[in-house]
């Protein structure tokens, strides 16, 4: 009887992880049986039934089938990985190529990596290179700096704005909310080029009124514009899971509204915020079309200089940059996985001790 009461009061589920897990198992049994009454069967009690079935076949047949399936799986995944990683490998080789001509491999050299940090020093002591190459590398440096300036600032700004807007949308009535979400989805679903054109037009109109040139400001606004919806969309589902009374209770207990927001709501929607931030970052760092139309000539990011500058005026250091970026992120991912793994193991140890 006790457990039933607990489950019917959904808001308490948040507080205890254990109850949540239990509930999940039960919940699915409810769906399968098409019944609304809760059954207290544990999932483990059902498992033996499935395990008994395949025993009729000889073990060797079963094993060979399993090995075959594993091989097939590995082939499929490595085919996809091959398709995805071919360009990355090409870029890797181009980045360690000593020649300026990126289609001919002459010798191993790390000078393009050096050129990323100090073009005058690393690209100077080479007979093949002229000062134009140093100039190109400097322009690349500038573009990288600009890419990260825009990406980081647009990610931060759109995350903060996204939280506020998501709170606003969440508080609306059902119908209004649906309409806002539809509007919110427009930049996501819209083709990049159409977004770019519309933004370019509105910037030209406004900027010609105020005599501002396209550049950092227009690019920043457009990056915020297309990353905001992702942030809003990843926060909204988390917000709808929170108990509305929690915030009011905090305010009633003497919290200032801002503090209540920080202490009650933000922690509850943290995973959504991180997800949104990640989306905003991903969209912004690799954007080409929208930046191209909204002021790329003056404030180019890396994509735009790859598109706008041809062969000689594009420094091969860009390959070094991309390789560093790719493998840097790979390291972060692996590191994060190891961290999570270790954390889980610690937890397990703790649980065992208890």
């Amino acid at each position: 009887m006790m457990s039933k009461k607990v489950i019917s009061k959904g808001n308490l589920v948040q507080n205890s992880n254990k109850t949540k897990r239990k509930l999940k198992n039960k919940k699915y049994q409810v769906i399968i049986n098409n019944q609304k009454v809760l059954i207290t069967l544990k999932p483990k009690q059902m498992l033996p039934v499935t395990k008994q079935q395949p025993k009729k076949l000889p073990i060797s047949y079963h094993r060979s089938k399993k090995i075959l399936a594993t091989i097939l799986k590995i082939i499929i995944i490595s085919f996809a990985a091959f398709l995805i990683y071919v360009p990355i490998v090409v870029i890797l080789f181009q980045s360690i190529n000593g020649s300026k001509n990126n289609d001919v491999f002459t010798n191993f050299s790390l000078k393009w990596y050096g050129g990323l940090f100090n073009p005058e020093y690393f690209l100077n002591n080479d007979g093949h290179l002229s000062s134009s190459d140093i100039q190109a590398a400097k322009e690349l440096q500038e573009a990288i700096f600009q890419t990260f300036t825009v990406t980081i600032s647009s990610t931060i700004i759109s995350t903060i704005l996204g939280i506020l807007f998501a709170l606003g949308i969440n508080a609306l009535s059902r119908k209004k909310r649906q309409k806002m979400i539809l509007l919110n989805n427009v930049p996501i679903v819209n083709a990049d080029i159409v977004t770019a054109v519309t933004l370019m037009i509105i910037f030209q109109v406004f900027f010609s009124i105020f005599h501002i040139e396209l550049g950092f400001i227009s690019i920043l606004i457009s990056h915020i514009f297309f990353s905001l919806p992702y942030v809003v969309l990843s926060i909204l589902p988390k917000l709808s899971e929170i108990d509305h009374n929690l915030y009011d209770a905090a305010v009633d207990l003497g919290c200032s509204p801002f503090k209540a927001l920080l202490k009650v709501i933000i922690p509850a929607i943290k995973s959504g915020i991180i997800m949104g931030m990640l989306f905003a970052f991903t969209m912004s760092i690799d954007d080409f079309t929208i930046s191209y139309f909204t002021g790329a000539r003056l404030y180019s990011n890396v994509s735009c200089i790859i598109y706008l500058r041809k062969s000689k005026s594009l420094s091969p250091s860009v390959y070094a940059y991309n390789t560093i970026l790719t493998f840097g992120i790979l390291l972060v991912l692996v590191g994060y996985n190891i961290y999570v793994h270790l954390k889980n193991q610690k937890k397990k140890l703790k649980n065992n001790k208890e």
Partner: protein, 275 residues
């Protein structure tokens, strides 16, 4: 929490300024031969005549065919991959997945440039292998449909794998057991249980792959294909006399997309499909 209601208003204004007003300007522009954005100085021009010319239609058709083929191939490759990873009893599933979607963070145009260079004679691999005495065959796929499609698949595959994996991962394992218990075979379990649940992920994947393929110009141009609609729009906005034509083509694309959005909105009202 109702006091937050006010915060939706600035967002609405922001959206109106950056979405609705430009669309109105686009509509006005599309009937004009403009002088740049100066819509009050433009003169009336029947841009529809240009839009419905064989040339534009051919570009639209080509864009559609290319992106349809790319989407289908991406789906065929991505679904098994996502399915295998999602159902594996492997501990580090997430690591394998992140390995596959990692290139999303490296520069798309540069990767396209890289793969495009492979399709030409005299690329970095042929010169590398020449050093050890092996002559690699030349693909000569540059600017051919084969090369464009292969390049695009390579670029957009991660965008298909991720959403499908997300939707498959959410399925509770006990659901499979239940289906088994109720007497369904493996195929039936897949068709009746797994596939319908993963439909949302597939929709997202199709949106994420099809749209940029059909309307983008950066990737296609790097692969040597200048005949798509994205390039057309771009060139129209290069010349201020043809802003009107560009506006009209953009509007047509917008209408098609809004239609698609409407259908998605009918199926899923909270808009969760997209993420």
């Amino acid at each position: 929490m109702n006091r937050f209601k006010k915060m939706a208003i600035p967002y609405l204004i922001w959206m109106i300024i950056l979405v609705l007003i430009p669309i109105v300007i686009l509509i006005i522009m599309s009937f004009q031969r403009t002088k740049g954005i100066k819509i009050f100085e433009g003169t009336f021009n029947n841009n529809f005549k240009i839009i419905f010319s064989k040339d534009v239609m051919q570009r639209l058709w080509l864009s559609f065919i290319y992106s349809a083929v790319v989407t289908v191939f991406c789906l065929i490759i991505a679904y098994p991959v996502a399915y295998i990873i999602a159902r594996a009893n492997f501990k580090h599933r997430f690591l394998v997945l992140s390995f596959l979607i990692l290139p999303m963070w490296s520069n798309t145009l540069l990767r396209t440039k890289g793969i495009a260079s492979l399709f030409m004679e005299g690329n970095i691999f042929t010169s590398l292998f020449e050093k050890i005495g092996i002559t690699l065959p030349t693909l000569n796929w540059y600017a051919t449909p084969m090369g464009v499609i292969t390049g695009m698949i390579s670029m957009y595959l991660p965008f298909m794998i991720l959403p499908i994996y997300n939707s498959l991962e959410k399925i509770d394992k006990s659901l499979y057991d239940a289906s088994d218990d109720l007497g369904a075979n493996a195929f039936k379990t897949f068709w009746k249980v797994t596939f319908p649940i993963s439909l949302k992920g597939i929709t997202t994947g199709i949106i994420l792959v099809f749209l940029p393929c059909a309307t983008g110009f950066g990737v296609a141009e790097q692969l040597g294909e200048n005949g798509l609609i994205g390039t057309y729009i771009k060139t129209q906005f290069d010349n201020e006399a043809t802003y009107g034509v560009g506006a009209l083509v953009s509007l047509i694309i917008l209408v098609i997309i809004i239609g698609a959005l409407f259908i998605v909105g009918k199926v899923d009202k909270e808009g969760e499909t997209l993420l």
